[in-house]
């Protein structure tokens, strides 16, 4: 694990190690994964901080994300412009938050953003409906979906405003012991 890599400057690697939960080896491994996704786009030399974005279609074809019903939202939440096209920073950030080292609060924060489809900082009943439909792929009838959304809001809405704020969500996640193990992508 010597200093023989030429992809990043030492300062860049230090910065990445500070900002994500990964080690040097893992960061380099993730970089090569990123590079493999789009070899023509991604240069092998990041010393000059090139502004390279891998389009969303390529990201969503990764085996880790391919079958995930929320892959579109995940890519949108972690990309800079919210359109799903990710730079290397976004890529590392995404897998860092979804790794097993990230603490519960951080994961809950990002999970909230993922489930908030209309980006209004609240999970409203419409967002919930979309979540349920993505989870069951339309196999429940519309009134069943409505019932489920109603029950979720009844259970989790503490401040009684008819939608879930970040605090409601985090409070509810506190009682879910398997959240840490399910909100986890291994790469």
């Amino acid at each position: 694990m010597g200093n023989k890599q030429t992809v990043f400057t030492p300062e860049q690697l230090e910065a990445y190690q500070d900002c994500t939960f990964f080690t040097r080896k893992e960061i380099l491994r993730l970089f090569y994964r990123f590079q493999d996704l789009a070899p023509q786009l991604v240069p092998l030399d990041y010393n000059s901080n090139p502004d390279v974005k891998v389009p969303y279609e390529v990201i969503s074809s990764m085996p880790e994300l391919k079958d995930n019903p929320f892959r579109e939202r995940i890519a949108q939440v972690f990309s800079q412009d919210g359109d799903g096209n990710m730079t290397l920073d976004d890529f590392l950030d995404m897998f860092s938050v979804m790794s097993e080292m990230a603490p519960r609060d951080l994961k809950a924060y990002y999970a909230f953003k993922i489930y908030d489809f209309n980006n209004d900082d609240y999970i409203c009943p419409l967002d919930l409906e979309m979540t349920v439909n993505k989870l069951t792929r339309g196999e429940l009838t519309p009134e069943e979906v409505g019932l489920v959304c109603e029950k979720v809001i009844n259970e989790a809405d503490v401040d009684n405003d008819g939608k879930l704020s970040l605090d409601d969500f985090q409070n509810m996640i506190l009682h879910a012991p398997d959240f840490l193990s399910t909100f986890h992508i291994r790469i």
């Binding site: 080690t23 919930l128 989870l135 429940l140 401040d159 405003d161 409070n171 509810m172």
Partner: protein, 623 residues
């Protein structure tokens, strides 16, 4: 939370969630990483994780859990746990009974004959040459050469050469200590399962939100597992919704409907009781009818195994019928499952009890020591000159037959079904060919097998070792049939129920098995012609006899432990401790609900304050 700025986003989110001030959670894999190794807790977690590598079959179990669900995995974990228990018990008993016999004492020759025996001649060894069929039958039913062997109670002598090692006391001690060890280990397991259950399922209050937000495993890969998870999730949601609508329907029932429903329920319960009664009578008769001895070797075997056949038949045929019946009773789904499990548990454990009752009836002449056959020796010496070996033989036969059934089912039931499923087309073929691993029935089978061993271990010291081998065979057999014949479960079985319910049933089995063993130790007179307790009034009498030989202080202390002046203060102290723990628990519960109310109030006041701020800043702007 403020929106993170684009260029230093990672650092921003990093700082705003306070991660910089917290300690990172312990890592799940074992790779060292320089930045995360700051914590001493990490090192401890790694050390504590190291012994887990020694536990066998870890990869197999994770694979089973991933493919077939947590419920199936819990069955195999229970099987592994029971295997460990049996190995431990076998080692203990072997070390305290068989080993001293082999090392120290004289290996007993055949029981003395020719001398006039007051309690009937006891002649288990066959005379002269034995032909192969008889040899096989003897092996399968524990008679002949096997009867007078270290396998059964009757072989062990009352004294070993040297006189220092008291075999009777060691025999008793090994039974009690292994029973106590089993109890402690099962309690430990059920307590940790209970803790998990209490923590995670803080009631039906959060079931929906948990299912939507934290049940989806983001790490699932491949279309197959994802589809399965989807189906399982949909099934769970549908079950919850169905239960909710059932509850609404139940509330809307009219009086006439209630009366009709209860009449149906009573009728069905009577039907269940009738079936149980018929099964038990069959078992009792099969055992009692053994006194007639036919001559043909195959019929001998059949008659010897008749009780086992009846018990296994009842255990195989009745539970599906119970399943149909509980479906008709109009209870919500979860209630139905619980009722079904209860009935099956009762069937399994009560059939053993009935068998033992029939044995007891024969050995003690129906509990009447004045009866003609039991008058001279206190037990039925004409039929059963060595009754302990007889009980051991029954348990041995049950064990063997259980293993045989476990071997036969994949061969005779699952394999043809799979074959038919591939040959026949259409819906019938699919119906026949799909088999799922029924976790509750299989677990009850395990509990039944273990209860057998607990009952029989006193009368057949090597039974625990045999059971360990049997469980090993069953592990590989079930794993094979799971991977080759069974499809992944379409319904999820709550692993939390498994963690709590199954150790409970195991404890029930242990309690039930303690009764015949203790009864035999304390009440029934031991056989005069065999076993380490021959010549004693009761089996337990060996212990006071041995205590007499101890030095004075030890003797007085041990006798003191048996008196009332020790038992009563002990009971008082334990009741006080229990009351204290209960009050502590209830006060914690009250504190928890108070804190929950606090959280609600805090968020409400936050919302109010935010509204005030908005209103005030609006006013300011207007000004």
């Amino acid at each position: 939370n403020p929106q993170p700025t684009p260029q230093n986003r990672q650092t921003q989110t990093f700082l705003e969630t306070g991660w910089a001030n917290q300690n990172p959670p312990p890592r799940l894999n074992f790779q060292p990483s320089p930045q995360n190794l700051k914590n001493r807790q990490e090192a401890w977690a790694r050390l504590a994780g190291a012994p887990k590598i020694l536990v066998p079959w870890r990869t197999t179990l994770t694979r089973i859990g991933g493919q077939y669900g947590a419920g199936t995995e819990s069955y195999f974990t229970l099987l592994r746990f029971l295997l460990g228990l049996n190995i431990l018990g076998a080692l203990f008993q072997g070390a305290l009974t068989l080993l001293p016999l082999l090392l120290l004492g004289p290996i007993p020759g055949p029981p003395s004959q020719g001398v006039h025996q007051p309690c009937g001649p006891y002649d288990p060894l066959p005379q002269g040459l034995v032909d192969y069929p008889t040899l096989l039958i003897n092996l399968l039913s524990g008679e002949g050469h096997l009867e007078w062997s270290p396998l059964f109670y009757g072989f062990y002598p009352a004294q070993l050469s040297g006189g220092t090692f008291r075999l009777p006391v060691a025999y008793l001690l090994s039974t009690f200590v292994s029973g106590l060890l089993c109890l402690l280990l099962i309690l430990h397991r059920s307590v940790s399962g209970l803790k998990q259950t209490l923590l995670s399922e803080s009631g039906a209050l959060t079931s929906y939100s948990h299912r939507i937000f934290s049940a989806w495993d983001f790490g699932l890969r491949g279309a197959g597992p994802v589809e399965l998870r989807r189906r399982a999730l949909r099934y769970e949601l549908q079950v919850e919704l169905e239960e909710a609508s059932e509850r609404k329907r139940a509330e809307a029932r009219t009086r006439a409907q209630w009366a009709g429903l209860w009449a149906t329920r009573i009728l069905l319960n009577l039907l269940v009781l009738a079936m149980l009664g018929a099964a038990f009578y069959g078992i009792y008769w099969a055992r009692a009818g053994l006194l007639l001895r036919p001559l043909l070797p195959l019929r001998t075997l059949l008659v010897a195994y008749l009780p086992s056949i009846f018990i296994s038949a009842a255990n195989l045929l009745l539970p599906p019928v119970f399943g149909l019946i509980t479906g008709l009773e109009g209870y919500p789904r979860s209630r139905q499952l619980q009722l079904l499990l209860l009935r099956t548990v009762f069937l399994r454990l009560a059939s053993l009890v009935v068998l033992l009752a029939s044995l007891w009836n024969e050995i003690t002449c129906g509990g009447k020591p004045e009866a003609e056959a039991c008058a001279t020796c206190g037990y039925n010496s004409a039929e059963r000159p060595c009754w302990e070996t007889r009980v051991g033989q029954e348990m041995y036969k049950l064990l063997l037959f259980d293993l045989l059934t476990a071997l036969a089912i994949p061969l005779l039931v699952q394999f043809p079904r799979k074959l038919l499923g591939t040959v026949c087309c259409g819906r019938l073929g699919r119906l026949l060919g799909t088999m799922e691993f029924q976790v509750p029935e299989e677990v009850l089978g395990l509990v039944y097998g273990q209860t057998l061993v607990w009952i029989g271990a006193f009368y057949c010291p090597l039974l625990a070792g045999l059971n360990a081998i049997k469980f090993l065979i069953i592990f590989y057999l079930k794993r094979f049939s799971l991977f080759f014949f069974c499809s992944p479960a379409s319904r999820t079985f709550r692993a939390s129920a498994a963690n709590f319910f199954f150790p409970l049933v195991l404890l029930l089995g242990l309690a039930i098995s303690a009764v015949p063993v203790l009864y035999g130790i304390f009440v029934i007179p031991p056989s005069k012609l065999c076993g380490p307790f021959r010549g004693q009034v009761t089996i337990w009498a060996a212990v006071p006899h041995a205590i007499q030989g101890l030095p004075r202080t030890a003797r007085d202390f041990l006798f003191f432990l048996g008196t009332l002046s020790f038992a009563v203060p002990l009971m008082l102290v334990s009741s006080v401790l229990m009351v204290y723990t209960l009050t502590l628990a209830s006060s914690y519960g009250r504190q928890v609900s108070k804190l929950k109310g606090h959280i609600k109030m805090e968020s409400k006041s936050k919302v109010l304050l935010a509204q005030r701020i908005v209103a005030l800043s609006g006013e300011e702007r207007d000004l």
